[in-house]
Symmetry: D3
Subunit: 319 residues, 6 copies
């Protein structure tokens, strides 16, 4: 943290038990409680773009509840992330549940406003629709970004029921709007049936690289991680994690489950391997708590967020 | 049933176990399997108008699954409903999940089309938004109807997030459009906090009578039933049952639960007491299966539907 | 208790916490731990006669687990039941899961054997099929019994898929075999759709009286209790409780749920009202734990069993 | 509200959807966000005094989540409670999970501190152990109080495993310490097995009146409500609601469930009937979310709290 | 597809949302809706042969519901399976729930009848008992088959409780009846305790090869897949998948769970590796929905079925 | 087994179905039913040391229920464990739920008493606090032991809320008391956030080796197993398995879940690899059934116990 004072960290678990007190992410300070901030966790409880099992509107509340066990030291990265940067919980972005188009604009405006007051955002969805306005706000500050997209699905479909803004289309919209460096972008964790082989060829036609879960299984986590890093190069990176990249065993609480996914251990390793990259924004989306069991999904999502925050805290970005 | 032949009834449970085979409501024939029909059960899997816990889009599938135990003879009404009228399952009305306005139009068009081929509709929601297009289609045939509305909530709010079509507004829209005989309409089962006392006065200003669950508890089911019958008089009646009229113990699987509700026994008695009324259409809405437990809600909804169908079968309506 | 010594009671909760230790019903002594016994709780984990949701084979284990909070003093009956009689847990009767006919014979043989060593049996099902062999064993000692049958269903159907022994037929078989004083027998809690009105007329033709849940709601618990007592008179009584007599809200964990049932409070009151009767045997059946939620059903069943045991302890039967 | 300005109310649901944003009780302002307060909701996430199913430490978080649907106008009491008084969420009291004695002292100290800055407390448990320190803090300001205690259990046992402070003993301790006007106190909702009849006679020997759920069923809610009001007279009243006073169907999420309980409708009516009483403090305890299903219990608890807050807002107490 | 016209494919998800409408497997046409068919999915809702947790009778309904997200293009096999062959849903085979022997005969007769009208069957269980009649019907057309059997268990036990037809015995019966080329057959996924080492030696004495999950872990999916292919050679293959071959994390919804199983990714890879084989029939059994969580098991089963169907569509079998 | 007679084995599943009868671990004889014993399974239902999600007090009952499918022959170890040694279920150790310090002493005393009558103990927790008294009792007989500790967490913290005996501190206490050969001890399965890097350095300062789940993933199960064996050498070994070493997908039913854990297959392989070691005691702890789903966790724990018992039966220890 540039400047003098220490960041304000999470509530001390030696004073307040983890099951008690403030419900912010990782028990971090709320945005209003600190004078300045570097990285903000923000909830976006919108699921109007969901095509199958809805409920990701309750995702932010559930992931925060599932983050209560997060402690300050990240041994996998040998870092105290909340000491390196002022990380805060910026609460939720309010938007209409009834119109995806209007919600997209509201989210974008709110993200823009937030970014005017600080550094970088890490969002908790909500469904994947929310990635588009976040990319807009991010690209406005950092230019087109390399997308590292963990997901069972491509999310580069065009429209669904005539709707251009859904959880299956954010990255086509982002590509159309020039928000992405698709030559430096990659999907990781693809699997499951598609509509046609043109789903894949259209997607690669936009420039995306594609890594399936079978690739991860066959070639190994380390090799895939190297491929991803080589892909993004030194471009500014946006990491978008659809929790359905995990196998339903590891993420029952999501809307469009596909068998054959990653384990949480694989996903955490792949995320941590992004250490050399400069991450300018991130999201973890599609946690649908009504389908979660014993917080399996919420805990996995919270851990992914924690590792993303650690990566970002370790590698500051010039304002 | 006018004309010669016997209605086609449900699959014979002595030939096909109840857990096996066709998944239509009460194992009734599908619409395409019969030459003509009197009453059609139709699913409307739309929940885009939901303000809190979503998921009623899976309501039709769950209620059908919960209806597998329904047998042909209704002892409470001493009737074989499926022998009195040709009751069918007309499947689901397809509509966009992304726009309430567009969905309302699609549902109305589909209901109109259905009604051109037969008699009366009993819908399975979906959220309460679907009542508006159903009332439009019903009123087109029968003129303004008396509404008997079982619900914890008034559903006569005006807009929410600027949206005129939501699950909290169908009956204001219907009133505005002249679809209701509000002088003959009544809410039953009201309870829970409101925004302001004007919620109630606005509603009664539109002409609705209001019966709370406390009224049911204090005055008894029989007295309330008499009040409802007196209210509707000889007007054609549309019965709309939001399953959240039941206590959360009796209907955990719904989106906006309010403590202090009816028991399923009270609701069934109140429904059956409508026997003298001429029911020209009905719906049972807001079953949200992701929140259901062991089919408690789905079974209750299926039983309410069964008694509504029986009432309607007993009292034919001129085509 | 005839003879000198005090009955052995449940494990002392001041010495062993209720969540610890022995898993017998109400933490009572096992049959092998006492020199003699008056009333034995016995599990019959058989569900091969189930027509819809199976799983009652796990009923005895679940009801025992749900009985751990039962304390020694019954304030509703102002009695210390386990001090009045030696009540034991006789474990489970083992029988084949694959043949209802063979299982019925095995259960009867085991019940007969048990009864040769002591007093009366209170069984935990298992599905309702098990009532038939229990009635055979009971009638062999006490002659035909008055049946007080709490159930949503009549269970006097004839056959199902050609099978004479199922959970829908035990009382027709018992009637055919002369095990019942049907002129003194009654069903309580009937509701839900039937196959035909002949279901009811056949049943009353065998002599049964019928009390619906609507009767309970309309006439009240006290009046129905009086009717039941008048019905049984001074005949020896067998009480058979299908837990689906409760509303699905009060008993989600069962196989053929019907909306509109009794509350657990109503059922307990009706059971306790049997105080003047001489109960020679009893069962509580159809708890299917895979469908239970937070032990709602198991706890209700355990409480019903506890009140039945108390009634029986208060009114000894000559050996 | 004494002084000029209007109380700060809940977050506007027309601006922020109910599933979004701040997680305080009923979306009320946090204590730090207002200059002064009249009534504070405070969580006490302690369950170290639990004898059976633990987990009430997560009760405050769950009840807050279950309170998101509470709207500002209470039609049952025809009151806008949050306009009559400044109601706030004071967060959670932190205390050790490992020692009931130490926790009791920590809770008492925290309650005392809170009360020095404002008016009255309404606590969310935690297990029933927390009632003792709350009564201490309350009696220090208001003298001995009349206790209106809704519970399946007496909670006037002496010790358990040698421990004087458990969830089964708070009111004996309170009686010993002279915190209660036991001649004006009453238990409502008693049922279920006890250790001995001396449980009851000891309790009445301390002065308590006892109302069972059978009394409620037999005599009716209105008569019991009158009895309670007559009992408390004009004494300052402390209302303690163990959520297990509800039937397990209405409150599966609790630690020591007993069949045969109240419905949520009955409980809400009994609470609202306390309108003439002067309530100086209250708690709702024993919500154990790991056993809850679809928020049935949390919603019931939230509604009870809402009606308690409304009563208290309507009837200010001199500072 | 031999002959002129295109196969009829699944319902178009751009017209009918996936949560709406027809409940056939993968939203395929029902058998009655097409003039001819190549491969039929058929449910066999029988679980009378279950030795532990029952409920697989609800398996077909659950797997169909879990198949709603299946799209037409299989990227792992680079195939549009439903364009290569006419795949249909043939509904459920009705059979008695009360007698395994009778049910086995009914299933066989129904399978025979079906096969007279078209090509090959892929069955959804039901418990593993159903594999025997399916093998009989298959062998009648194709002669003895090589069995590729994914399962935690051998299922070559002899009898259980004197019963020859149970879910633990189908492959011994099949071997006795000469339905299998056991020299070309293999179990994959074995693990968990057995009765004795003779379970294994008896099984290999019949000719089966045995692959444990430890083999898969140690030698890798590719090597095991090669072994399986080498084993079956060019024999006609029947694939039988007991879903308990998956770890309980990946398939909680089954009757006899064993820790240490396959992941869904491993199973899908092993199935897809059967590409060179000529599959003449298949089943996926032992999905027990009452134990499933958020459709984890049902989705995994649906994906396995989808890959089996794709393999079969790619490699037609002469009629 | 030294001496003449055969050990008494589990209840015969051919006589009593697995879902029926005695609820001891693996249906083994109770301690009182055999004249002598070699290895005793003992429950310790204590969770007073839990810092987050409680409920492990119900662990012994759940793991026993989850052990009903365990059969006598262990194919992974090619052993009939219950024929090699007399294994019994010694029931539960009763201790206060209200004081960790007192409970620790009670558990130690009970373990000591048990050990005076037989051989070795394998405990079912309860939370991890129980390992300390077990280590005391073990070390008294065998001297300081090598600890093989499977856990996500170090459990060598010092105090929490001033409490020295909690589930996060047993191995620091054990080290302080000289119960461990920390030069021969190792943690396996570490992951998840910590308080500070000093957590790790303090721990290694005590002598422990540390193996993370990333180590297992990167280096493989076999290499880690070799490392563990080399570490323990020929010292007497105590194996302590916190079930949270498994990923939440494989063990949802636990109190402090951390994403990225082991699979049940990996854990079983690591346990079995201890074959050359001389195990003098063991525990499997932290199963919290209220958070379990379909017995996933209980079954995994039961299988781990079964393999531990097999190892111990194969390698007797001089009395």
């Amino acid at each position: 943290m540039a400047g003098g004072d220490e960041p304000v960290g999470p509530t001390d678990a030696a004073a307040v038990p983890r099951f008690a007190g403030v419900g912010t992410f990782a028990r971090l300070p709320a945005l209003a409680e600190v004078p300045r901030w570097d990285i903000a966790v923000v909830g976006i409880p919108f699921d109007g773009g969901t095509s199958y099992r809805p409920g990701a509107r309750f995702g932010p509340a559930a992931v925060r509840q599932g983050s209560r066990l997060l402690r300050p030291y990240n041994p996998a990265q040998e870092t105290l992330p909340f000491a390196l940067a002022q990380v805060v919980d910026a609460g939720d972005i309010a938007c209409t549940p009834f119109s995806t188009e209007e919600a997209v604009n509201q989210i974008q405006a709110a993200a823009d406003s937030l970014l005017e007051t600080g550094g970088r955002l890490v969002a908790i969805g909500g469904d994947h629709t929310v990635a588009l306005p976040l990319l807009r706000a991010t690209a406005r500050r950092h230019g087109p970004v390399a997308l590292v997209h963990f997901d069972a699905h491509l999310d580069t479909w065009d429209t669904y029921f005539g709707q251009r803004f859904t959880h299956g289309t954010p990255f086509r919209r982002a590509w159309e709007e020039g928000l992405l460096r698709t030559d430096r972008s990659v999907h990781v964790g693809l699997r499951g049936p598609l509509y046609a082989d043109t789903d894949l060829t259209d997607d690669s036609g936009m420039g995306f690289a594609q890594v399936t879960t079978d690739d991860v299984a066959t070639r190994g986590v380390a090799a895939v991680a190297q491929q991803v890093l080589a892909r993004v190069g030194d471009a500014p990176v946006y990491v978008s994690v659809d929790i359905d990249v995990l196998d339903p065993a590891h993420a029952p609480g999501t809307g469009t489950p596909e068998a054959g996914g990653l384990t949480s251990r694989e996903l955490l390793s792949l995320v941590r391997a992004l250490e050399p990259a400069t991450i300018v924004g991130a999201d973890v989306v599609e946690v649908s708590p009504a389908y979660d069991q014993s917080e399996i999904t919420a805990v996995a999502a919270a851990h992914v967020l924690y590792d993303l925050l650690t990566l970002m805290a370790r590698r500051p970005v010039p304002a």
